[in-house]
């Protein structure tokens, strides 16, 4: 047995499979996950268009094979279209950027456990591509690489709109990266481990983190929307002001790669939300799926539950996209730095204090009073945040920070323009 495999297997309890079946099964997993992921991403473009259509009382694509072949038609079109290169573009970087945007989204998926382990005749197989002991840190490291593809695309295009899109995306993604990382600290406080399969198991045997750590989930959700450049945070694209933002100059398959990257990022972020806060592949209210014997049936069932959770979050992404308008740039920045980051930091303090207090009071981790205490804390935090504090302070008009007198003065200044002399007095 070679050393890297031994290192990887150190995180895997239970009977160790032999090297040859382990290699074969890993290859099968790789191909299967990659295929399902790519086909799923293609179908998600169709889902996005269908959901947008239904929300707007339209039918959506229904011509190419009743609509089901629309992704295939789009793919063929993008392959045969002409690739155009701007004359003044930095060509090597211009070609590299789509791949740089696409690959990090793909790599992140490697460490996400997508089903219960399978105790096969050849040994226990983890249902994760690479059962890294540092899985969570790996995700934090890789997900911050995604910004490079977008920034380099914006810069190498030599186009002012693309450059603005790239600049916005770098500011936005770096700002929300911090809030995102901070929001996951409470998860680590509870699980005491950075291995994702341990985090899933801890939630399965105790309570899902969405109940324990509601505010952390909310911060993570908002930050994940910003990280994936989806509405209401799609400022790097911002069709109405920046044409298409960072990918204005891209055509054919390179343009398509940015789209695939966006959807792949969405799926990965959804999988992360499911794993960190919704118990991963855990089937709710039962424990039989988490304990030995790990049969193939359990693996399939948990795989189905994991898929359902991921698809729900993908749907949430689309649902919110077709509900909310885009943020203004200053709103985006002040939300990231002035609301989410202090909130995440304060929440870490509150949660760690509560955990220490509950530990000192003698409640065991995983016991009912321990989690009841956490849930009560979160209930209070939700009420304070969303009912008492969220009154025009979280997202506010541009003039909200001015004194009332200043606002009046500004109104006075714009009054002469508003008055139309040829219209009769309306009386007010």
């Amino acid at each position: 047995m070679t050393t890297p495999i031994a290192l990887l297997q150190a995180a895997t309890p239970g009977s160790q499979p032999h090297v040859i079946p382990w290699l074969i099964f890993t290859l099968v997993k790789l191909i299967a996950v990659f295929t399902v992921y790519m086909v799923g991403v293609a179908l998600l473009t169709l889902a996005e268009r269908k959901i947008s259509a239904w929300i707007q009382d339209r039918h959506g694509p229904n011509r190419v094979g009743k609509g089901w072949l629309q992704p295939a038609a789009d793919g063929i079109k993008n392959f045969v279209k002409e690739e155009t290169y701007p004359a003044a573009a930095n060509l090597p970087l211009f070609v590299l950027a789509p791949a740089l945007a696409f690959i990090p989204a793909l790599i992140t998926w490697a460490v996400i456990p997508f089903a219960a382990p399978w105790d096969s005749p050849w040994g226990l197989f983890e249902m994760v591509l690479a059962p890294l002991p540092v899985g969570f840190l790996f995700i934090l490291a890789i997900s911050s690489l995604g910004v490079y593809g977008i920034v380099i695309a914006g810069w190498s295009s030599n186009n002012k709109y693309a450059l603005l899109g790239g600049l916005r995306s770098s500011a936005q993604m770096i700002s929300y990266e911090i809030a995102m990382g901070m929001s996951t600290i409470p998860v680590l406080l509870l699980s005491g481990n950075v291995t994702l399969s341990r985090i899933v198991n801890q939630q399965a045997f105790e309570t899902w983190n969405v109940l324990n750590l509601t505010i952390a989930f909310f911060i993570f959700l908002v930050a994940a929307f910003a990280e994936t450049n989806r509405l209401p945070f799609d400022l790097p694209e911002a069709e109405s002001e920046l044409i298409a933002g960072y990918h204005s100059e891209y055509s054919a398959m390179k343009f398509s790669l940015f789209f695939i990257a966006e959807y792949a990022n969405m799926v990965t972020a959804s999988a992360l939300m499911a794993t960190l806060f919704f118990g991963g592949w855990d089937i709710p209210f039962t424990l039989w799926d988490n304990v030995a014997p790990h049969t193939g049936l359990k693996t399939l069932l948990t795989l189905g539950f994991f898929g359902a959770k991921v698809l729900f979050f993908v749907f949430l992404y689309m649902w919110i996209r077709w509900t909310l308008p885009r943020f203004r740039y200053d709103q985006l920045m002040s939300l990231g730095w002035k609301v989410l980051l202090p909130l995440a930091l304060g929440y870490i303090v509150a949660i760690s204090t509560t955990i220490v207090t509950l530990d000192a009071l003698g409640f065991a981790r995983g016991s009912v009073p321990f989690h009841l205490g956490l849930i009560l804390l979160n209930l209070a935090a939700v009420v304070i945040l969303f009912v008492l504090l969220d009154r025009g302070r979280v997202i506010s008009p541009a003039y909200s920070r001015l004194a009332p007198g200043e606002v009046e003065k500004l109104r006075e200044m714009s009054t002469p323009r508003r008055a139309a002399p040829f219209l009769p007095e309306s009386g007010d």
Binding site: I55, D57, R58, H59, R391, G392, S426
Partner: protein
């Protein structure tokens, strides 16, 4: 406050982003499951067009299959887009008829003056809009083609009946 602009004074201390978002999401979810759609499935379903729709032209014919046109030259004269080409001819009985009658539908602005001015009610603009062609030449309609069209013709505006009832 004039020109009909409605300015909503937002009470800042009462607005909540999260609660407003949830309201909006409930609204979009309701529409997501609404079975009624506003789309017209175009090639299969067609919206009815106005009786006064002015589309591609049609030349009406007499009972014996000849064009009603007498080559008076009024329509090329009134045509603001200069898209009608008319060469009049005369047979042995002295009846005038068009030797050449061509309309360039690309130049035409579909004002309908040719129909208004025609003393014989020969040339008409039609209630028709599906007129795509593969070449520019295909848009120059000659006399045979104008006579072969079968779509209904435009009912011009009648001052006695302004609403077309």
């Amino acid at each position: 406050m004039s020109i009909g602009v409605k300015v909503v004074e937002r009470p800042i201390e009462q607005t909540s982003y999260v609660r407003a978002t949830l309201t909006g999401m409930a609204h979009t979810l309701k529409h997501l499951f609404t079975p009624e759609k506003v789309t017209t499935q175009y090639p299969e379903q067609k919206e009815s067009i106005s009786k006064r729709w002015r589309g591609t032209h049609r030349m009406l014919t007499t009972e014996d299959g000849k064009a009603k046109c007498v080559g008076c030259g009024l329509c090329p004269t009134i045509c603001p887009a200069n898209c009608i080409k008319l060469v009049p001819g005369e047979d042995e009985k002295g009846n005038r008829y068009p030797l050449v009658f061509e309309i360039d539908e690309f130049r035409c602005i579909f004002c309908g003056y040719c129909q208004e001015v025609c003393p014989e009610e020969a040339i008409h603009v039609g209630r028709h809009y599906e007129n795509a062609e593969y070449s520019r030449e295909g848009f120059v309609y000659d006399l045979e083609r104008l006579m072969a069209q079968t779509h209904p013709v435009c009912e011009m505006w009648d001052p006695a009946d302004p609403k077309g009832e």
